[in-house]
């Protein structure tokens, strides 16, 4: 009886906490993005007196939003492709071969996860300057993002390669399939969810990444997070920041939900970090 009551109290508390710490701030952000500059939202009012899409059109027309969107959505797919390309050979040997030092090699692949991103960004900038490669900053951002997100891609692809059935490969070989055909009929169907999951997780991470884009890219290369950061500094204009926050968060939530569905197919326990050490 006590356990049942406790369970009910916990359940209701969690729903209330969820609403307070998630729904309320987001509703506030939506309301702030709709505040019309003609009638300010004063403290005594629960909702803005006049609501319009002025801030949305203002941000679109007058800020660097278009540029930031273009950069972010060009950078992320590029990084995804580069990272996936780098990760496949390594994931293949992790998934299909046994060799001395495999566990150490797998552990070393996690290095970017425990390296402070700001140290990487600041001193990658120093290296680029010292080699006189300042004009290749964007390429350096792609490389830095690829290295930072390689652990995710390698881990997901390794799980994918482990799931390829040896019987399928042997059957294809027995039927005289060429190397390409074996890949097409035995590997690709099993690897497809891992491919999509890797691309998607790197895409999301790259869109959200702030440290490298901020240190290496600023002031010329603007992404959505760096633009949002600049609006939250000294000249904090809350409606503008609200618009940018929603632009940053909404597509990512949709992509993440899609990703979760994919990860379920590609063995979530292995990918989500369980067994990291």
């Amino acid at each position: 009886m006590i356990a049942k009551s406790l369970h009910r109290i916990l359940f209701i508390s969690m729903i209330v906490i969820g609403v307070v710490w998630l729904a309320v701030p987001f509703i506030m952000a939506i309301l702030w993005s709709l505040v019309d500059p003609a009638e300010p939202w004063t403290v005594d009012l629960v909702v803005p007196p006049v609501m319009s899409f002025y801030r949305w059109s203002y941000m679109w027309e007058s800020s660097n939003l278009k540029n930031a969107l273009f950069n972010s959505y060009l950078l992320a797919p590029t990084v995804s492709i580069v990272t996936l390309t780098f990760s496949i050979p390594t994931a293949y040997v992790f998934g299909r071969y046994n060799f001395v030092g495999k566990e150490i090699a797998k552990l070393l692949c996690l290095l970017p996860l425990v390296t402070p991103y700001f140290v990487l960004s600041v001193f990658l900038t120093a290296t680029i300057i010292s080699f006189g490669l300042s004009e290749y900053r964007v390429a350096a951002i792609v490389l830095a993002h690829a290295v930072m997100f390689l652990p995710y891609a390698i881990r997901i692809m390794t799980v994918g390669f482990e799931q390829v059935s040896q019987e399928h490969i042997d059957a294809a070989r027995d039927l005289s399939a060429t190397t390409f055909s074996r890949w097409r009929v035995a590997y690709l169907p099993a690897l497809r969810p891992a491919f999509f999951a890797s691309v998607l997780i790197v895409f999301i991470q790259s869109i959200e990444e702030f440290a490298v884009a901020f240190i290496l890219g600023s002031p010329t290369f603007i992404t959505i997070p760096t633009l949002l950061f600049s609006t939250m500094g000294q000249d904090f204009v809350r409606p503008n920041a609200a618009v940018l926050s929603l632009i940053l968060v909404v597509p990512n939530v949709v992509l993440m939900l899609f990703l979760e569905k994919l990860l379920r197919t590609a063995n979530p326990a292995m990918i989500s970090g369980k067994g990291l050490n």
Binding site: M28, P112, V114, P116, F118, T125, A126, S130, K274
Partner: protein
């Protein structure tokens, strides 16, 4: 055999090789610049003067203490909150998926957006101040942003990291078979003993992984500190970016080395503490308690 290993090495180069090359190279540059070598500007000269200068600075020592404070407490709060929730959600019940989704939702929210949402709640014109004024608790809005004790930053770190800890711990807890727990129950183990002797040892690796990643992320935090942290104290990342902005690359390098070294030792310390406290059954047995007291007291 040789060709097999050659193939493996060639395959490791694009993934592991690139990781080791970039991380290794950046680490090398940071260390060299902190001792006056590989300078961007001026002559190279092997010296410890940048270290002497930085150790003498109050701002540096304050930043080290501050970053350790944020890293440690963010880790503790996140794990302490996540563990009981993960235990509660171990067995599915009606609505457990909804609760789990709500609690894990901050994982989908970018850190900067989280900081903005938090500002919306605590700013002069935020929800809390509106509520306090509406209820006539105060006439003037209260300043809550950039508080001196960094409670705002700790709140944000916990908000962002607790779902991550929950994700790992829930996975580990759900993988414990009911047979194991039933066997312990049949042998007369109480709920407490089952928790101490079975659940904790079987979830220790997930707890350690979560603790390490949360500690390093919070310890090296820049954005939450810059937006919601105290104005009179810098985090180590903030201090490093500040030096870099003033083109003091060698000083920035000393802070960078501090970040790397303390992140590493912090992670080792986390592993040590968790293993020392939780690894073996009988956590609160007299022998174990003696161990805990010796860890806290620093005695062997």
């Amino acid at each position: 055999m040789f060709s097999k290993y050659l193939f493996i090495i060639l395959c490791l180069i694009p993934g592991l090789g690139i990781i080791l090359a970039l991380i290794g190279f950046v680490t090398y540059i940071v260390i060299m610049q902190s001792i006056g070598l590989n300078n961007l500007f001026g002559e190279d000269e092997f010296t410890f003067k940048f270290w002497e200068k930085i150790f003498a600075k109050k701002s540096y020592n304050r930043s080290v203490r501050y970053s350790l404070y944020i890293g440690t407490f963010s880790t503790i709060f996140s794990i302490l909150l996540a563990y009981p929730i993960a235990l509660w959600l171990r067995k599915p019940f009606r609505g457990s998926l909804l609760i789990s989704s709500i609690l894990k939702a901050p994982l989908l929210v970018h850190g900067l957006v989280a900081a903005f949402l938090f500002l919306n709640v605590i700013e002069y014109h935020g929800l809390v101040n509106q509520l306090l004024q509406y209820l006539n608790f105060t006439d003037q809005p209260i300043r809550m942003r950039n508080d001196r004790n960094a409670f705002g930053v700790l709140f944000l770190q916990t908000w962002k990291n607790m779902p991550f800890a929950l994700l790992l711990l829930a996975g580990a807890l759900q993988s414990i078979s009911d047979d194991t727990l039933d066997a312990a129950r049949d042998l007369g183990a109480s709920i407490y003993r089952r928790f101490i002797d079975i659940i904790i040892p079987l979830t220790i690796s997930a707890m350690t992984a979560a603790a390490i990643i949360i500690f390093i992320g919070a310890f090296a935090d820049f954005t939450f500190q810059k937006i919601a942290g105290p104005r009179n104290t810098f985090s180590l990342s903030q201090l490093m970016v500040e030096y870099r902005g003033r083109m003091k690359w060698n000083e920035a390098a000393t802070v960078g080395v501090t970040l790397i070294v303390l992140s590493f030792f912090g992670a080792v310390f986390v592993v040590f503490i968790i293993n020392k406290l939780f690894k073996y059954p009988g956590w609160f047995s007299p022998v174990k308690m003696k161990n805990i007291q010796s860890i806290i007291g620093g005695k062997k």
